[in-house]
C-alpha cells in the first residue's frame, strides 16, 4: 500500500475503474456526462452544486476537480465560497435539528 491514501495524479485515472467492470463504468460515465450538461440549471450552477457536495463529502478528488471546474464555468470566488457555506449550513443544521429529538428524549425520561 502507498504511504498516502490520496494522490493528485489518481484523479486523472478515474476512467480506469472501467478496466475491471466496463459495462457499469460506461453507464456511470455516460450518466455523469449527461448530468453536467446545461439543462434548466446552467453548467456554472451545476459546477457550484458539485463543489458544495464535494465539501460536504470531503472528497479531495472532487474538490480538486470542481474548484477548477467552477472557475472554468465562470464562477466567481464569492459564488464558490457561498456554495460552501450552503454545504456547511446544511451539515451544521443537520446536527442541530436533531436537538429537537434530544429535547424530546430528555423530556420523555425526565420528571
Amino acid at each position: 500500500m502507498e504511504k498516502t491514501y490520496y494522490k493528485p495524479e489518481d484523479l486523472g485515472k478515474f476512467g480506469n475503474i472501467a478496466d475491471w467492470q466496463p459495462e457499469l463504468a460506461k453507464k456511470f460515465f455516460d450518466y455523469y456526462g449527461e448530468v453536467f450538461k446545461e439543462g434548466e440549471l446552467s453548467e456554472r450552477e451545476k459546477a457550484l452544486i458539485a463543489l458544495a457536495v464535494s465539501h460536504a463529502l470531503q472528497c479531495p478528488y472532487c474538490i480538486d476537480a470542481y474548484s477548477t471546474g467552477s472557475l472554468e464555468k465562470g464562477a466567481t470566488e464569492g459564488q464558490m465560497m457561498e456554495a460552501l457555506h450552503v454545504a456547511a449550513a446544511i451539515r451544521g443544521g443537520a446536527s442541530l435539528v436533531h436537538g429537537v429529538q434530544m429535547m424530546n428524549k430528555v423530556k420523555e425520561v425526565s420528571m
Binding site: 446545461e38 453548467e43 472554468e72 465562470g74 466567481t76
Partner: protein
C-alpha cells in the same frame, strides 16, 4: 510591472521558450508531439484552406502590461509598424483582391500606433471588413483617444475587446488594478455610439480568456452568463463572447512555470486534443504580419519568431498569395492551445 524583454528575462528569448515547450517532463516522459497528433488525425502537413484574413500586429506598445500577454506587450515596448510597412500591407491586399476580405488589427494597443487612423481609413476605403482588438482602457488612457468609439463607428470597424471576467477581482488579477472599472466605462462609451446595440450593425465582441491555469468553459454558457451580468450590473450590451484558451508562451508561460502549473496545464491541453478543432484552426485561413512586416502563420508563431516556411515569402513586401496558400504551416507544442476542447482562435471556439 515591466515586460520580460525589459527585465532581460530568459523567456524574452523565443528560442528558450521553444526549448521549454520541447523539453521532457520532470519524470523524463515526453508530451505527445503535436505533429504526431495531427498526423493521426490525417491533417499533417497542415495546409491553409486559403488566406481570407490578414491579421496585422501594428506594434508591441501597450498602455497595459497584462500578466498573461503572449506578445509581452507594454508601455516599455517601442516596436511599432512604420507607415511604409502599412503601405506594403495595403499593396498586398490590393494584389490579393477579394480573397482576403478581412483585416484584423492587433498589438499591443493598435490605437497607439501614430498611423493607426490613416491605416483604418485606407482599409475601409478598400471595402475590407476591419476588426480592431481594442483593450478598452486605451479609450480612457488619454483625451486624444476619447473619440475612438466615434472613429470606429464612422468606419464601421468591428470592435473585439478583452474582458476576462464580469468580476472586477478576476479581471484586475490578469490585466492590472483598476482595469475592470475603466473597461466597463469604455464599454458604456462604445454602447453610447451604438456598438453592441441590436440592429445598429456595429459589432462589439468580447474576448474571455481564463485568468489562470485552467481551460475555458463552454462559449455559449459563458456568453449567457456575461450578457446577464454585464446588463444587470452595468447596463452593458455586446454581441458575441469569444472564448480563447491561453497558449503556453511568453508571459503566460512564465506564469505557468513560476506557479508550478506548467506540466499540469500542458497535460490538460494535450489530453483535450480535438481533431475536429484541429481541422478548424485559424492559421488555415489567416496570415499574420509582424510590426516589421515579417510574415507568420499566426500571432503566436510570430511571438516565437517562427516565420513562414521557406517556400513562402518572408516579408509582406514580397507578398505572393499562391505560395502562401500552398505552404505547410509550422507547428510546435504550443499549438495544442488552439486544438483543446471546443478549439480556440481569435474568433473564439472553432467547433
Amino acid at each position: 510591472m515591466t515586460s520580460l524583454k525589459r527585465q532581460e528575462h530568459r523567456l524574452a528569448n523565443s528560442l528558450i521558450q521553444l526549448e521549454v515547450l520541447e523539453a521532457p517532463r520532470q519524470n523524463g516522459e515526453q508530451f505527445a508531439l503535436f505533429q504526431d497528433k495531427l498526423e493521426a488525425a490525417g491533417l499533417y502537413p497542415l495546409r491553409p484552406t486559403g488566406v481570407e484574413i490578414l491579421q496585422i500586429n501594428v506594434g508591441k506598445m501597450c498602455n497595459q502590461t497584462c500578466k498573461h500577454c503572449h506578445v509581452d506587450a507594454g508601455p516599455d515596448r517601442k516596436e511599432i509598424m512604420a507607415r511604409e510597412t502599412m503601405q506594403h500591407c495595403l499593396d498586398a491586399l490590393d494584389a490579393a483582391g477579394k480573397q482576403i476580405h478581412t483585416v484584423d488589427l492587433t498589438g499591443g494597443a493598435p490605437e497607439m500606433n501614430p498611423h493607426f487612423r490613416w491605416f483604418v481609413e485606407e482599409l475601409s476605403l478598400r471595402g475590407k471588413k476591419v476588426m480592431v482588438r481594442c483593450n478598452l482602457t486605451i479609450i480612457l488612457a488619454n483625451p486624444k483617444y476619447h473619440d475612438l468609439p466615434e472613429f470606429f463607428r464612422q468606419h464601421g470597424v468591428e470592435v473585439v475587446s478583452s474582458l476576462p471576467h464580469f468580476s472586477a477581482r478576476r479581471t484586475d488579477a490578469q490585466r492590472g488594478e483598476g482595469v475592470f472599472e475603466k473597461s466597463i466605462k469604455a464599454l458604456q462609451m462604445l454602447n453610447a455610439v451604438g456598438y453592441g446595440k441590436h440592429g445598429s450593425g456595429l459589432d462589439l465582441h468580447l474576448v474571455y480568456n481564463p485568468a489562470g491555469a485552467f481551460l475555458p468553459g463552454s462559449q455559449a454558457s459563458l456568453e449567457k452568463e456575461f450578457k446577464q451580468k454585464l446588463l444587470k450590473d452595468f447596463g452593458v450590451e455586446f454581441n458575441n463572447l469569444y472564448v480563447i484558451t491561453n497558449l503556453p508562451i511568453s508571459r503566460f508561460l512564465d506564469y505557468l512555470l513560476q506557479s508550478g502549473n506548467y506540466e499540469s496545464y500542458m497535460e490538460k491541453l494535450v489530453n483535450a486534443f480535438n481533431p475536429v478543432a484541429a481541422a478548424g484552426v485559424m492559421c488555415r485561413n489567416t496570415l499574420s504580419v509582424g510590426w516589421d512586416g515579417a510574415l507568420y502563420d499566426c500571432d503566436f508563431n510570430q511571438m516565437l519568431d517562427m516565420k513562414l516556411e521557406k517556400t513562402a515569402p518572408e516579408h509582406i513586401s514580397d507578398f505572393q498569395l499562391n505560395s502562401i496558400d500552398q505552404r505547410a504551416i509550422r507547428l510546435n507544442q504550443h499549438c495544442y492551445g488552439c486544438t483543446a476542447g471546443a478549439g480556440s482562435s481569435c474568433g473564439g471556439a472553432t467547433t
